[in-house]
């Protein structure tokens, strides 16, 4: 029997599935997604929309230093959120700092995800000794709090680099440090999903026609285990941004010459006693809003993609 529904356009097709339906009927998800897209978009487009470039010293005037936000007496309209002690526009530094935080977060999650998925699929597909080795390694790593491990990796990374190159490579060291602490979560979830898939008939069929193991893993199993990975990655992004901010706040992360949100909060902390609250307050608020919205989005995704919760 032919359907009576007219054919759907692109947007219609996009909206016509259960995930989209769940999204469109969950206001918190929509609001969170809106804020997250706004934050990430604004941060990634910082060079285009920021009123100033805080990394271009010729745009900074010391005489404009320590100005309060525009709506407070003494503030200037061109510096909406005030300026820091060197005369840098706070709004611009937050946009640029947020960009750096998000880039670090995304890169770290990607690293953790790739590592975790590869090891997880291998572990689940082969089982036996390989599985034991990889999973025990993950267990050991999970017993150590992530941030401590990140500090350790970061410290070793810095010690290895010569002094002149430390600032330049700090961002990569932070990415590796956070990425390496992230992988066990991915590996565990993917391993479980892989073990389920391996016993299914289509994998058996592929084995029967003697496809090589790597092809079965990449072509057949991987696409079917990516759903939970997506959820983990979203929540992982929020955690990675927090981890970066924590490292930077402890002075272990991104150097003040190209500050991330965490570095801005740390530097601003110095001015709390002197009443220049906006130097640390606005970066902190930006961090909270960013992480909270991404987290809400991840939460919703977990519910929407979990068949058992429907």
């Amino acid at each position: 029997m032919a359907t009576t529904k007219p054919p759907l356009g692109f947007w219609g097709r996009l909206a016509d599935n259960d995930v989209a339906h769940s999204f469109l009927t969950t206001p918190s998800a929509m609001i969170a997604a809106g804020i997250a897209v706004l934050c990430i978009g604004a941060a990634l487009l910082a060079p285009l929309i920021a009123p100033f470039n805080p990394f271009d010293p010729s745009q900074i005037s010391l005489w404009d230093g320590k100005l309060p936000p525009a709506w407070i007496e003494g503030g200037q309209a061109q510096y909406l959120l005030g300026t820091d002690n060197q005369g840098r526009d706070m709004l611009s530094t937050i946009l640029y700092g947020g960009r750096l935080s998000i880039i670090v977060g995304l890169a770290a999650v990607c690293l953790g995800m790739v590592l975790g998925v590869v090891l997880g699929v291998i572990s689940g597909y082969f089982g036996g000794t390989v599985d034991s080795i990889i999973m025990r390694a993950a267990d050991v790593q999970l017993t150590i709090p992530g941030i401590l491990l990140a500090i350790l990796i970061n410290g070793v990374g810095r010690a290895v680099l010569p002094l002149e190159m430390r600032d330049e490579f700090a961002i990569y060291v932070v990415i590796v440090a956070i990425g390496l602490t992230d992988w066990p979560q991915f590996a565990r979830v993917v391993r479980g999903a892989t073990m389920v898939e391996v016993s299914k008939e289509y994998v058996q069929a592929a084995r029967v026609i003697d496809l090589p193991g790597w092809m079965i893993m990449v072509r057949h199993i991987l696409p079917n285990v990516m759903r939970p990975v997506l959820v983990l990655a979203t929540i992982g992004l929020a955690l990675a941004v927090i981890a970066e901010a924590t490292l930077s706040f402890l002075g272990q992360g991104i150097p003040p010459t190209t500050p991330s949100l965490g570095t801005l909060i740390r530097v601003g902390n110095e001015f709390l006693f002197s009443g220049l609250w906006w130097i640390t307050f606005f970066p902190a608020i930006a961090l909270v809003v960013l992480v909270f919205s991404v987290n809400l989005l991840g939460d919703w995704m977990r519910d929407a993609l979990n068949p058992k919760l429907r």
Binding site: S58, L62, Q86, E164, N269, F271
Partner: protein, 521 residues
Amino acid sequence: MRQSRWLLATAAVFALASAPAFAENVFKWASQGDALTLDPMSQNEGPTNAMNGQLYESLVTRDPQMKLQPELAVSWTGAADGWTFKLREGVKFHDGADFTAEDVKFSIERAQSPSSDFKEQVSGITSVQIIDDHTVKLMTDGPNPILPNQLTSTYILDKDWAEKNNVTTPQDFKAKQETYAVRNANGTGPFKVVSRAPDELTVLARNTAWWGDKLFPGNIDRIEYRPIANAATRVAALLSGEVDFVLDPPLQDLKRIESADGLKVITVAQIRSIFFGMDQGVAELRTSDVKGKNPFADVRVREAMNLAMDKVAIQRVVMEGLSFPTGMITPPGVFGNTPENDKPLPFDPEKAKALLADAGYPNGFTVQLDCPNNRYNNDEKICQAAVAMLAKVGVKVNLEAVSKAQHFPKIQKRTSDFYMLGWGVPTLDSHYVFAYLLADGGSWNATGYNNARVNEITAAIATETDIDKRTAMIEEAWNIVLADKPYVPLHHQVIAWAMSNKVDAPIGADDALRPRFIVMK
């Protein structure tokens, strides 16, 4: 049963640990960086001298008003061929050994050895003659009118102790040498080392056998020094009562501290100038995009660097008003500073650009600025501001801000192109500035500046006794330096100390803490 014994033992330990706190006056203080070494001749650096000045003593010293006072010498008289010092009798080192003329001879010779950072102060002494156990004569090559002024930080060690512990020569700080004297001290001073964990906590206890124990008003029994690098943490420690005294409160927090109950801030103009040095001596800068020649070798470039610096903005915004913009690298109070020469060059970016274009750099050039981040008031923030100011005239500066322990070797090894330095003058005489910073071969002259007449005058004023002639020579040398501009002077510092009301500490223009005068209520 076993458990109760454990409890008893624990209680006893706690009782022991907390017992001394009742009766003692414990002076807990903090500043941003630690003394670099306890070897009193290895690093001529303010906080290091301040720490060592509690453990060791020199022949003469200065009181908070900067007047010379007897310390290990009771009197001194000058002659054409040297100075005779009458030494204090009955003085003992911390380990109980007697202080004699032998120790003075040994210590001065130690300060003259190659690894010493105090060579310039004692270079005028040709030999030390022991007249008797408590009289020495420091022989000089011709008359030396300022010798006692030069000895205020030449600390005296015990000869036998140094020989026993194999520290007869000073630690070579540049080569990261480690010796017994770096962590242990045996002086005659008012305090002894109880424990030392570098960059963490140094505990000193009153030396009750000190000769001045009853002569000075100070009533501190124990000093606990805690370096706290983070400025806000340092202030928080003072506000919470964790420390009684902060030597270098961040300038932006002074109002907050003053408004707090039980805390006060005192200020005084300091004998210390802050400036940038430019290496004009090398053929090619190490960190510049200009190859084959050195932009700083051209006096027009050096003048442009000076004109580009908005010293008043730094004073108002970075220093919260607590500095004096300057034209000289040595402050008022030092003999040779004159109001005419001390006027800062005006802030004139247009002229700076024109001079750079004249010199062949219409688009500027790049260079790295080396800066300490835990030594001077707001040092790193000044450097950040300088980067912005220089960018406006086209000089692209890459800022490298590191701790003073990493920064100072770059200057002494002469591996920096462009650096920040601050210079205090304990002798209160220009000779000290010329010998260290301007004469060829001066151990802190990393500019490569080498002017024959300035070198000649530096040597001459060490022995010239005719005051008028000497003054004229000093004036002449400063005029040459003003024309040649090897440094970019920024400002003279103002010292601010923050402390609890129960502490009464006299502030001195050299920023030195003098615990022998500190009274705790």
